[in-house]
């Protein structure tokens, strides 16, 4: 099975050459509001993070965990199983094969995490039977012929398995509820449980070095376990961390931990049995995965909707370099769940495509990040002036020159925009987007923030107002609910004590 997925040509070519292309609203913007079709905004800087190649399509793929093995990039997809691509020519990703693991019971192939045993030419992949089913299984794939992947066995587990790691002849599994489970890897698909250590919370990822394993507990901790006796793993240390840790990567005497909404942490393993936090860098999104490029010193973070790059060459600090919003292909927000690295090559993806980036550590540039990325203005009657705050942050390494603001029509303007000034790295400026409401019609427009950002010289912010439904500035419908303990809750009563946040969710 050697299908070649459709290539996104022109835009990727421009981006790959590091040219700031602003001919249309950059991928990742909300397509329902057409962004201005303008000429390029040239920059004196070269982009430190460039797109090398990308493959995507209209199908929903839900890229998750990724791992590099030689010139092969492996990734798990929640929809299309375990995938292998060749990147020996980074600008020409070549599809090798795909396998939808199953145990013969017609389970949905929700490949979640993977671990590559390069010497043994095997890949282990975890899967779930359904969205949040407590039962999951580990599939063993013969990868000796990457263009003809073969499932050679599976192990059904009562626990929900998350991250896994190959460590010598061991397979380590991070599970919800059962903690760390240690298997001996035998010939073929043989996996023999040796021991386990429970009581670690909801552990999401495991990595090992020597006789120690490190796991992240989403309850807020980095856990150190002694594997000297694999049949009796023992807890050594627990380091409290903020946020909801989901991933980690080791680099000798240090570790990088993705902390969810708390950002990313640099942890010292100078004393490997007593890790200590060195630094925490916040990220605007939710840091779900990390990868480190040893040759480039780049730390790469899957930050919910963006890829974020940090300079980690200093052993004692990590410094923001820039970000890349992951494109959505068919529009809407993306979901960036995984990242992998081969030195200066970065692999990430979203729901629709795999993207290969290159980090250029010799380049320094400004990087404009704007919040919100989509401006939903309050509802307004004719004659009303409605407003929303825009915050622009320079997440790059050089001063960001703020130039003009362009708008889709005369009803929009941006006040307090410091045109002609430079924003220092790490600094932010707040401006106010205003609209003089002419009528009650549903409105869709845009503003372009013009700067010398080499990647997004015209950063488009789609704007909507007076859309159907309850909008910002309008009264929320009074509601009542019954919680899972049978308690009655009413919005009117709840808001007497303060604001109420309704967080609509699904469990997939």
């Amino acid at each position: 099975m050697n299908a070649r997925a459709p290539r996104i040509g022109f835009l990727s070519l421009l981006l790959g050459l590091g040219i700031a292309s602003s001919a249309a609203c950059k991928d990742g913007q909300q397509p329902s509001s057409a962004c201005g079709d303008r000429a390029e905004a040239p920059s004196p800087f070269a982009d430190p993070v460039t797109v090398v190649d990308r493959y995507g399509g209209s199908s929903f793929s839900e890229l998750g965990d990724l791992e590099v093995d030689g010139d092969t990039i492996w990734f798990c997809s929640g929809v299309i199983g375990l995938n292998a691509w060749d990147f020996s020519v980074p600008s020409n990703l070549v599809f090798l094969d795909r396998i939808d693991p199953s145990d013969g019971s017609q389970r949905f192939p929700r490949c979640q995490h993977l671990a590559v045993d390069a010497p043994g030419r095997r890949v282990y992949a975890t899967n779930k039977a359904s969205s949040i089913s407590p039962q999951s299984f580990i599939v063993v794939v013969d990868a000796s012929a990457p263009r003809a992947l073969t499932e050679i066995g599976s192990l059904v587990l009562p626990e929900q398995v998350e991250g896994i790691a190959v460590h010598g002849d061991l397979l380590l599994a991070a599970t919800h509820g059962a903690g760390l489970v240690v298997y001996r890897r035998g010939a073929g698909a043989e996996l023999t449980e040796l021991g386990r250590l429970a009581g670690l919370g909801n552990v999401w990822q495991v990595r090992a070095s020597g006789s120690l394993a490190y796991l992240v507990d989403s309850g807020g901790a980095l856990v150190t376990v002694d594997l000297s006796d694999p049949a009796a793993p023992t807890l050594v240390h627990r380091l409290d961390l903020p946020g909801a840790p989901k991933d980690l990567e080791l680099d000798g005497d240090r570790a990088f931990v993705a902390l969810g909404s708390a950002g990313v942490a640099l942890v010292s393993l100078a004393d490997p049995r007593a890790p200590a936090v060195v630094e925490i860098e916040d990220t605007p999104g939710s840091a779900l995965a990390v990868a480190y490029g040893a040759g480039s010193g780049g730390l790469y973070v899957a930050d919910w909707t963006d890829l974020r790059v940090f300079d980690a060459t200093s052993r004692g600090a990590i410094t923001a370099v820039g970000h890349e919003p992951l494109p959505t292909g068919n529009g809407g927000t993306s979901r960036t769940l995984g990242v992998a690295a081969a030195d200066d090559l970065i692999f990430s993806g979203n729901w629709r495509e795999l993207v290969n980036y290159r980090y250029h550590p010799d380049r320094r540039a400004p990087d404009l990040d704007v919040s919100p990325r989509f401006a939903a203005l309050p509802a307004g009657a004719p004659g009303d002036t409605v407003s929303a705050r825009l915050t622009v942050t320079n997440v790059g390494q050089e001063p960001l020159a703020l130039n003009a603001v362009e708008t889709s029509d005369d009803s929009l303007r941006v006040d307090d925009w410091p045109a002609g000034t430079a924003l220092a790295p790490g600094d932010a400026v707040r401006a106010t987007l205003r609209r003089d409401t002419p009528d009650t019609d549903a409105f869709k427009g845009w503003v372009n923030l013009v700067s010398d950002d080499p990647d997004e010289g015209r950063r488009c912010v789609p704007v909507e107002a007076n859309q159907p439904g309850v909008a910002i500035g309008q009264a929320a419908p009074e509601s009542s609910w019954i919680d899972r303990d049978g308690q009655s809750l009413q919005l009117a009563t709840l808001r007497e004590g303060g604001p109420v946040l309704l967080a609509y969710f699904a469990t997939f």
Binding site: P134, N202, V470, A475, V500, F505
Partner: protein
């Protein structure tokens, strides 16, 4: 977010709309695995009433309602920094 601002008066409700036929066991497992600290409720009606910004996925969605019952923040994607800023603004806290 809930733990950060709970003592300052923020109430958080996790709202399951049932759009994906999630069972009670599924919700229980989800609550346990994610260690949520706030109530989870079922509500398939109010989701349809808001003017959501366009997004590829129907979830997560967030609505922040102030003490006067006015919508102050609407999001079709989880952006912690933006949500935090909105909460702080409604609570009258400095940035």
């Amino acid at each position: 977010m809930h733990l950060t601002y709970r003592d300052q008066g923020l109430t958080v409700l996790g709202v399951a709309t049932g759009g994906f036929d999630e069972s009670e066991a599924t919700l229980d497992a989800f609550a346990e695995q994610t260690a949520v600290t706030f109530p989870i409720v079922h509500d398939s009606a109010t989701y349809q009433l808001f003017s959501w910004p366009p997004a590829l996925s129907p979830f997560p969605r967030q609505v922040l309602i102030d003490q006067d019952g006015v919508v102050r923040y609407l999001a079709s994607e989880h952006r912690p920094a933006e949500l935090d800023a909105a909460i702080r603004e409604v609570l009258g806290l400095s940035r």
